[in-house]
């Protein structure tokens, strides 16, 4: 019985990190209809920033202060996003999808090497945050408390995002722009501003995902590329552009992955991709997607 609780926690842990990455990707697609292939790299930037803030720049500080450093990666990724959208992506909204995918693929290659340039080729981590709060007993097993913190952050992020989009004025503007950009512009919405904000929020979430993962896993080169395909599975299953879809997709992928790792480790990844492919075959727009 206790082992089931541990598995459940693991699945939720996985789902919340995936939601942070895929939710951002989906938000960006929902608002500006662009699939950002470099999204995983922003997740990686978040991980590297938090790791170096905790284990290099402020190493040896008060541990309470170190926990406050967690969002550093998210803020850094958001800042990069705020610069990238107006400079690099804006010229491409009117262009064909091929070019949009290619420019973000180019961006992926640049960001990957930028990380190599700044942090070098070796993995770094922020394990102090993981070990400081220790673990707790789940029946006969010990479970790291930090993982529960990650789950809480994922759940809170989902809640905040929902409240932000469905309960604030900015959310109304955002949804209006997403549904009909021209009409929103005609009604006086500053579409360019909405785009920058949506992209920045999306990158913030990716960065937060990276920041939350780095105390328990090292930040390594290539983590962005790996994360992106998983985020793809999530958004394809849930529906591109839908946040509910990203949440449900993340839970499905988290659960399948946890079951997969224990029961069929060899084909765990293949099963995930196949689920995405099957969902696309039955419901092209994903479980919660709009067909437009």
């Amino acid at each position: 019985m206790d082992i089931l609780v541990v598995h459940l926690f693991n699945a939720l842990l996985y789902a919340s990190v995936l939601f942070l990455i895929a939710g951002g990707l989906s938000l960006i697609y929902g608002v500006m209809r662009i699939v950002n292939l470099a999204h995983g790299n922003l997740y990686a930037v978040g991980a590297f920033l938090t790791a170096s803030a905790v284990s290099q720049w402020f190493a040896g500080s008060e541990s309470a202060f170190l926990y406050l450093l967690l969002p550093v990666g998210a803020l850094g990724a958001a800042a990069i996003g705020a610069v990238l959208e107006p400079t690099l992506l804006r010229p491409f909204y009117r262009r064909r999808e091929e070019y949009q995918l290619l420019v973000t693929f180019g961006l992926l290659m640049i960001l990957e090497d930028l990380i190599r340039f700044v942090w070098g080729p070796y993995p770094i981590s922020a394990t102090t945050l993981f070990s400081k709060i220790g673990s707790m007993k789940v029946g006969e097993f010990f479970y790291p408390r930090y993982n529960l913190l990650v789950i809480a952050v994922g759940a809170l992020a989902a809640l905040f995002l929902w409240a932000f989009i469905y309960r604030t004025k900015f959310g109304v503007v955002l949804r209006a722009t997403s549904q009909d950009m021209r009409r929103a512009a005609a009604l006086g919405v500053n579409v360019n501003l909405v785009y920058v904000e949506a992209f920045t929020i999306g990158c913030f979430m990716a960065g937060l995902g990276g920041a939350m993962i780095v105390p328990s896993q090292s930040a390594v080169l290539g983590m962005g590329v790996d994360a992106l395909v998983l985020a793809f599975i999530v958004v394809v299953t849930g529906g591109l552009g839908s946040l509910e879809g990203a949440a449900v997709g993340a839970l499905i992928v988290g659960a399948v992955r946890e079951i997969g790792v224990t029961v069929f480790p060899e084909i765990e990844l293949a099963v995930l991709y196949l689920i995405a492919a099957i969902v696309l075959l039955i419901r092209p727009a994903g479980l919660f997607g709009r067909t437009t």
Binding site: V35, L37, L88, P91, F92, R95, E97, E98, Y99, L101, L102, V103, F105, G106, L107, L108, M109, I110, E112, D113, L114, R116, F117, V225, V229, F232, I233, V236, L240, P265, E266, I267, E268, L269, A270, Y273, L274, A276, A277, L280, L281, P284, A285
Partner: protein, 319 residues
């Protein structure tokens, strides 16, 4: 215009190994192999209007088909390798294509990507079959039933194997030329330009897209099969999705709106990547910047831009 250039270029390609050193010849061989893949890829992107982000799958199927034939069937004939790769890529592309051609635009791209990653994860995880990240070794094959005359692998690759690849390349180019200029090819272009009108004319869109997908995948599979003996090793890297991105990159670099674009793009990209890797650790960033600038400034690619410049020059002289 393209046909008139074909003969001098063919003569040049035949004579070139006498003028350049073996290393350069091998580089050119890689370029020609990738050109076959890009040519196949462009039947979908340039002629049918479908952007596949999963062509690494078909390249990988060709390569792994050869590696499995070596490992499990002890085959060493290049002709059988090509045959096996063609059969394997027909099976896989038919399966994937059946699923993918129901969609267009971004969903097509994502579905092709997702399916290609199924193969990647299988190659990655089933290490006792596929060698995992260590990959599978493929020794020098027999060409037309004749074993390599010299023990020197470099010599073999730069002479016999180069001409073998060149011959396959020529056949592929000729075939693709016939395909895109046939009524079938014209129908694909009609679908690309206006799907609704094409349907009105009576073209069965999904079936045409499926056949285009099949042909495209098989060309890429052949490229994969030719690539393995050259590289000597196949690893899951060629199934991973960034490799699909490279195929898209080289096609756009040459220009996807014309026949020769992907060929030029693949050869140029291969040199570009080799020299970038040789000169800086940050070759990825360099290629990324080139890609971004290319898409911003020269969206028609190298061949498209040359065509534009020539047209402009002609206008000036006639005035």
């Amino acid at each position: 215009m393209t046909a008139a250039w074909a003969v001098p270029i063919a003569v040049l390609l035949v004579l070139l190994p006498r003028a350049i050193n073996p290393y350069q010849t091998i580089l050119l061989t890689y370029g020609l192999v990738m050109a076959i893949a890009a040519l196949g890829f462009n039947l979908l992107l340039g002629y049918t209007g479908l952007l596949s982000f999963g062509h690494s799958a078909y390249f990988g199927v060709g390569a792994y088909a050869v590696a499995f034939m070596v490992k499990y069937l002890h085959v060493d004939s290049m002709e059988l390798f090509l045959l096996g790769a063609i059969v394997a890529s027909i099976v896989i592309t038919a399966l994937f294509g059946y699923a993918c051609v129901r969609y267009t635009q971004i969903f097509f791209s994502i579905l092709t990507l997702a399916l290609s990653q199924v193969l990647w994860s299988l190659a990655f995880k089933f290490f006792w079959v596929t060698g995992g990240t260590d990959g599978l070794r493929v020794p020098t094959p027999k060409l037309m039933g004749a074993a390599s005359s010299s023990e020197d692998k470099i010599h073999f690759l730069a002479t016999g194997y180069y001409y073998y690849v060149l011959a396959v390349f020529a056949v592929c180019v000729a075939l693709m030329w016939l395909i895109v200029h046939s009524p079938f090819g014209k129908a694909l272009q009609a679908i690309r330009d206006n799907e609704t009108r094409a349907r009105f004319v009576g073209i069965q869109i999904r079936r045409y897209r499926f056949v285009a997908f099949l042909v495209s995948g098989v060309f890429t599979g052949i490229a994969g099969a030719l690539w393995v003996p050259l590289n000597g090793l196949t690893t899951p890297d060629i199934l991973y999705w960034p490799f699909s991105g490279e195929i898209v990159f080289m096609t756009v670099l040459g220009g996807f709106r014309n026949f020769t674009g992907p060929i030029v793009g693949a050869v140029v990209f291969n040199y570009l990547k080799t020299y970038a890797v040789g000169h800086t650790v940050y070759w990825q960033a360099l290629l990324g910047i080139i890609l971004v600038v290319l898409v911003l400034v020269l969206p028609t690619g190298i061949v498209g831009t040359i065509g534009l410049l020539r047209a402009r020059a002609r206008k000036k002289t006639s005035r």
